[in-house]
């Protein structure tokens, strides 16, 4: 894989999961460190400076995964992927609000985990805060942020200002889950964070304009109960 070797810290209290994840990630060429509780995780994060943290929400003792993530965010922007239980959408939203970059629902496949890890690692160095790329391109879809121009297959798309803002925000956070509240606050303003129906309608319009199959979207995918993600990978 890439040089130098990336260092990943995996935090989970179940030894079977730790063993499997460690093996899977090592096979992908990552260097893996593990921790079984919150205290150990914080200690290892500060001493070994990992490039990414995979963090289970449920941890034994007084400190759960959310708390560990909150403390990490006090001093580092290291990407954090949370492992959450099924159907705990509120927990996922809470994790993202605290500053987690992504989440994965247990039980997950190794392929899903490595895909998320790769996406999170790809994001970090290329996108320092405050200086987004001037042009975003995926397949035949091109967004020129400076000129506010969106083209698909060379033809300019007529987007409303709201649709453009949605697309801009989603693509500048490409491959990240953006929560409903976050999206509403940045496009419609902080007083509209509860108005999910705006999102449903305008995302629908946007999909019809940019997706080849709006009914089964490929770019703007729904993260059920949480938000949206602009997907660049397959």
């Amino acid at each position: 894989m890439s040089t130098p070797q990336k260092n990943i810290l995996v935090v989970d209290d179940e030894p079977e999961i730790l063993r499997a994840v460690r093996g899977g990630l090592a096979a992908q060429g990552y260097k893996v460190d593990t921790a079984v509780n919150g205290e150990e995780a914080l200690l290892k994060a500060s001493t070994s400076a990992p490039d990414l943290v995979v963090l289970d929400v449920m941890l034994p003792g007084g400190m759960d995964g959310l708390e560990v993530c909150r403390r990490l965010r006090e001093w580092t922007q290291v990407p954090v992927i949370m492992l959450s239980a099924r159907n705990q959408e509120r927990q996922k939203v809470a994790a993202l609000d605290i500053g987690a970059d992504d989440y994965l629902t247990k039980p997950f496949g190794m392929d899903e985990l490595t895909a998320r890890v790769r996406a999170a690692l790809r994001r970090t160095p290329s996108k320092p805060e405050g200086s987004p790329e001037p042009i975003f391109q995926i397949d035949d879809l091109v967004i020129d942020y400076a000129g506010h121009i969106v083209t698909k297959g060379g033809e300019e798309l007529k987007l409303t200002p709201i649709e453009y803002e949605l697309l801009r925000f989603l693509t500048q956070n490409a491959d990240r889950v953006v929560t409903h509240r976050h999206l509403l606050a940045s496009v419609w303003g902080p007083e509209n964070v509860e108005e999910t129906q705006y999102l449903r309608v305008h995302i629908g319009h946007l999909r019809r304009k940019i997706e080849a199959q709006p009914a089964v979207p490929r770019y703007i995918v729904t993260e059920p109960g949480v938000g949206y993600r602009f997907k660049t990978g397959s």
């Binding site: 099924r86 159907n87 959408e89 509120r90 039980p107 496949g109 409903h180 999910t196 129906q197 449903r200 309608v201 995302i203 629908g204 019809r208 709006p214 009914a215 089964v216 979207p217 995918v221 729904t222 059920p224 109960g225």
Partner: protein, 554 residues
């Protein structure tokens, strides 16, 4: 709890004590007046009437007093008549002395006749009054039992009975209690005549009822009971309670010589001159209360029996359910586990020589079987969370087309068999996105699973209205049609029951837990929607089953 209006159509006064006292007092005056009137008439017509026959006029007066007012008043009238006759008409007049021995004889004959008349007629009167009271009592009882037997619902018989007692006896309250959990008495019916706050009295009733129940002794029937005093002294009554207050009546309820509960009747409260006064119940009322107590005891005993039957039934059903769960688990969990075990241990064998295709197949098998296990466990957990109320829908505005897209995006393997017809302009509906995804996923997976691999599954959605609990609401209806064998007739609702699997699939190679549709139903019902299934047959070539669900907009 039921409150009764002050006046009541069934109010029939059984407590005639105060009225009869007033009647007695005025009776004396009326008797005296009648005698005076008779004397005056005699005085006026004395020239026409023989003074010796004055008794002919006085005797009817005595008779009248006896019938109208009673024995005492009649005797009074007789004595007064005796003296008036002597004083006003028998010579020498205006003295009480009598000179003529014949007059003396007439006087005493009159007195004896008057006393006998008074006695006989007042006894008749009394008997008539008693008969009237008894008739009243019988008609009250009849009314009460009529009202009670009109209640078919066992839960309402006791309140009906209690409200009968309150209205008939004009009691302040009537409460039926039975032994609940941990020996505490729990009220099963309570009727109060007014609407004020009864928290204090309620706990007093509770305490006294417990004492009555444990000692099997009544309170409020004559003898000043030690039980009451002991209860007042030793048991924990609220501090606000006025201990001099009339506690009312407590009757232990027996059915088949078993103590089943306590019936309490609060005292009658009248607002008299000095604030509120309580009056004692008449004997008739007490008899009525005792009779209705017997009714209450029978009802309570019956209720206890039917509760026990229901409990046994629930246990039996839980047992059947457990058996169904075990048989499902033993098949649906064990077969993927067995496959995984075989594949994994085979791959580990050090001396085995795998060709790469077999090896891949074994590894893929482990992955697929693990997914199946995850599916079964997830469905079971989701169902138990939903049914346990631990997974309330987190409702927000959603686009059904978007939900459909997400679900189809996740069913990668067989998504191309699904043909969708979802209009762009469906109204947004307020639902839990994840839960509705679960419903759609289960319905689509079933449709794909139970139909031929080369047949399509059609998914359509449209705006629709539906009658939900008697109100017509608008919303979105989703249909999933397959071209499979259809549902066995008669099983259209059963298939939504837990662990139920259609007859023809029970021993087939198609795996199923009998949980998916139950889960769908639980989700749809939690959204106040409806879900149903039926077979369709457009023509002999196009037939199968269609599963539909409706979700209201708001």
């Amino acid at each position: 709890m039921k409150h009764l209006p002050e006046s009541d159509n069934l109010t029939s006064d059984l407590s005639d004590q105060p009225r009869s006292k007033m009647l007695a007092a005025s009776g004396w005056l009326w008797s005296a007046g009648a005698v005076a009137l008779g004397t005056a008439c005699l005085w006026i017509f004395q020239s026409a009437i023989d003074k010796g026959q004055a008794s002919l006029l006085y005797l009817p007066i005595v008779l009248f007093c006896a019938i109208r007012f009673g024995y005492g008043q009649a005797i009074g009238a007789a004595v007064l008549s005796f003296f008036c006759w002597d004083f006003f008409f028998l010579p020498p007049r205006f003295t009480l002395t009598v000179v003529n021995p014949r007059d003396t004889l007439s006087l005493f004959v009159f007195l004896i006749a008057a006393v006998v008349t008074a006695r006989l007629s007042s006894r008749i009167r009394q008997q008539a009054a008693e008969a009237q009271v008894r008739e009243h009592e019988i008609s009250t009882l009849f009314n009460a039992s009529e009202a009670i037997s009109a209640e078919i619902d066992a839960d309402r018989i006791l309140p009906a009975l209690a409200s009968q007692i309150v209205s008939t006896c004009r009691a302040s309250r009537c409460i039926v209690l039975r032994q609940g959990i941990a020996d505490a008495m729990e009220p099963v019916a309570s009727v109060w005549s007014d609407k004020s706050d009864h928290a204090v009295l309620q706990s007093v009733v509770q305490v006294l009822a417990e004492a009555v129940f444990s000692d099997d002794q009544e309170i409020g029937f004559g003898q000043s009971p030690r039980l009451l005093r002991r209860a007042m002294e030793t048991m924990e009554l609220p501090a606000e309670y006025d201990r001099t207050e009339d506690p009312g009546i407590y009757v232990p309820l027996h059915a088949q010589s078993k103590l089943v509960g306590v019936l309490h009747v609060g005292p009658r409260i009248m607002s008299g001159a000095s604030g509120k006064e309580t009056t004692r119940f008449s004997d008739t009322e007490r008899r009525l209360i005792l009779t209705l107590s017997n009714h209450a005891a029978v009802v309570l005993a019956r209720q206890t029996l039917s509760d026990q039957a229901a409990e046994a039934d629930a246990l039996r059903r839980a047992d059947t359910l457990k058996d169904a769960l075990l048989s499902m688990v033993s098949h649906e969990l064990r077969s993927p586990l067995a496959a995984i075990k075989v594949a994994a241990s085979g791959l580990r064998q050090s001396d085995a020589v795998w060709d790469s295709a077999d090896r891949d197949a074994a590894i893929r098998g482990i992955d697929v079987e693990a997914d199946r296990l995850i599916g079964v466990v997830n469905n079971l957990l989701d169902l138990s969370r939903l049914e346990g109320g631990a997974w309330a829908p987190n409702r927000d505005w959603c686009d059904m087309a978007e939900i459909v897209g997400t679900v189809i995006g996740q069913l990668t393997a067989e998504a191309d068999r699904i043909i969708t017809d979802v209009p762009d302009d469906l109204p947004l509906i307020k639902v839990d996105y994840v839960q509705i995804m679960l419903v759609l996923t289960n319905l689509l997976q079933n449709a794909l699973k139970y139909s031929n691999e080369d047949s399509n599954v059609e998914l359509s959605a449209q705006t629709d209205t539906c009658d939900v609990e008697g109100v017509v609401v608008s919303g979105v209806k989703v249909s999933v049609r397959d071209h499979g064998p259809g549902i066995t007739p008669g099983e259209e609702t059963k298939i939504f029951e837990r662990f139920f699997r259609g007859d023809r699939h029970r021993n087939s190679t198609i795996h199923g837990t009998g949980v998916g549709l139950t889960l769908c139903r639980a989700v749809v019902l939690a959204h106040k929607g409806q879900i149903w299934a039926e077979n369709y047959e457009d023509d002999p070539q196009s037939r199968g089953s269609v599963f539909q669900f409706f979700l209201p907009i708001g």
